[in-house]
Subunit: 315 residues, 2 copies
């Protein structure tokens, strides 16, 4: 059966999860990016829209377009014509894995349209082509968008991704202030070289987070979620973040940090009631500076684009 | 009941476990260091022997003596007199956690003699005084000697140690060539600053090792046990290591690296039969270079000095 139309939905996520720079990621419940892929007469990838007024509509500049083209190339079907429609649920340059979600949803949708010629690792690599071009070669947001849950990217060469368990009571408060931070700028402030003591501390914290995810030890997760490398470097680009984090901790958060490259920040806790208090405290802190801030309480999203159902497929 | 004599036995271990520099450690079965602490008339710590012809007998220069003194100081009983006898089962400057085992066994023995005034974390800190003075301020070997098993040192300030599970089938081949490498020299060759890509790779591997220990995924443990920071720097100090490791991998080892600061190297596998082949291959490789090499096949030692029974205590 030759499909005429297929779609896929990818969740947003928290890249890095604090100290795990480019290594840890988690998919979170809430909005996602959806891509509909349809057969078109003209060979190659075209886009019926950019998904957002601030995103490029050219297929070779848009995350969804780049990933779709990589799928056609990898599947050896470049003569096929594919038209993409991107429904952007995640914020642009928000630090919620939006570009990764667009790339992953597109790769999965186009693969479905073609009859699933590519396996999961190949789809990850196709989405990585887009992520590398647009925001740096890292796989944390891609892996959580594709597989869902909490993931560990052990290696990109070769691709080696590990799915981790997580405690059922984990709640994630996302706070998105009305600030925009370019992902590339957020990477430029990272140090090129890091002193060995800081490296040891970072390794220890990331390793302890994995131990905490495995054992369900929320207190350990809170102690280990302590980023002394990227967070101090990026905090200077994000007025109000330091104070918002302090307010979150005071309201009962076990820990918090910048989500991906920011400006979204995230805070972890173990109950809906504390999560609501944290959201209120962070919003109030930004309000006091005249900065609007959207908050939401999420959980880990167990499914990614590969396993999320989408009923838009038709022959 | 006032004790006149108490003793403790601490296992040797594999510091770092490859990429986990100063972060991961595991206690291994086989020889250990034993300390007997007896009441003495003269206040403070004296040693009835250094434990080895090449070790200093002065209590303030010997790992056992330094740790014992720290326990007396911490317990507020510096006027007590303690005489130590150190029975050294582990090699000197071998990379098998010998100095840590001496310090830990001494701290536990003296604490037993005094009626256990100190808790486990305080004992760890007392042994850390010795380790800091003699071989650098790191806690991986100390924690495995004290608690046994596989441990993760999340932080020294404050002390935060996490015990990890491990797969029952894990076998550890230890190969100790007739070379001696000073622990301080082995630290001097480590880079002071590390580029960010290498840091990301190291964090990812250490985190993946913790995931593999938790899930029992031996194949992942093998892929993740890949140290690109300390091992290349120290390999140049250890003629024959690179070839020995290659021979071990060819014989079926899942991975291997330098144990602590060396010269002992270690190799992991999942069966006694493969472990025996690895030991033979490594020994043959060193033999071909005219270097004698002791090998043994160990498992993770589940108990450390805190829980290992020792019947030398008497009133």
């Amino acid at each position: 059966m030759r499909l005429e139309r297929a779609a896929a939905l990818a969740p947003g996520g928290v890249g890095n999860i604090g100290p795990g720079l480019d290594v840890l990621g988690m998919a979170v419940t809430g909005p996602g990016d959806r891509v509909i892929a349809e057969r078109a007469d003209e060979p190659g990838v075209t886009m019926s829209g950019a998904g957002h007024a601030d995103l490029p509509r050219a297929a070779d500049k848009n995350a969804a377009g780049i990933a779709a083209n990589a799928v056609l190339e990898r599947a050896g079907t470049l003569r096929d014509g594919v038209r993409l429609t991107l429904e952007k649920g995640l914020p642009i340059s928000g630090g919620q894995g939006g570009s990764a979600a667009s790339a992953v949803a597109s790769a999965v949708a186009v693969n479905r349209l073609l009859g699933n010629p590519l396996d999961a690792i190949a789809l990850f690599e196709c989405a990585l082509v887009a992520e590398s071009q647009l925001s740096g070669r890292h796989g944390d947001n891609l892996a959580s968008a594709l597989f869902g849950g909490v993931i560990l990217v052990r290696s990109l060469d070769p691709v080696d991704i590990v799915s981790l368990p997580w405690p059922a009571e984990l709640r994630v408060v996302l706070a998105h202030p009305a600030q925009r931070l370019d992902t590339a700028a957020a990477r430029e402030v990272l140090p090129s070289f890091i002193d060995r003591a800081s490296v040891t501390a970072a390794m220890a914290n990331v390793a302890a987070m994995v131990a905490a995810f495995a054992s369900g030890d929320m207190a350990l997760l809170g102690r280990a979620l302590d980023d002394q490398i990227a967070e101090p470097a990026r905090a200077v680009l994000l007025p109000g973040f330091v104070e918002a984090k302090a307010a979150a901790l005071k309201a009962g958060a076990l820990a918090g940090s910048i989500s991906g490259g920011g400006p979204t920040s995230f805070y972890i806790t173990d109950s809906d009631s504390t999560a609501a208090k944290i959201a209120d405290a962070v919003r109030a802190e930004y309000d006091s500076r005249g900065i609007a801030c959207d908050t939401r309480v999420s959980r880990v999203a167990p499914k990614g684009a590969l396993t999320l159902a989408d009923d838009a497929t038709s022959a």
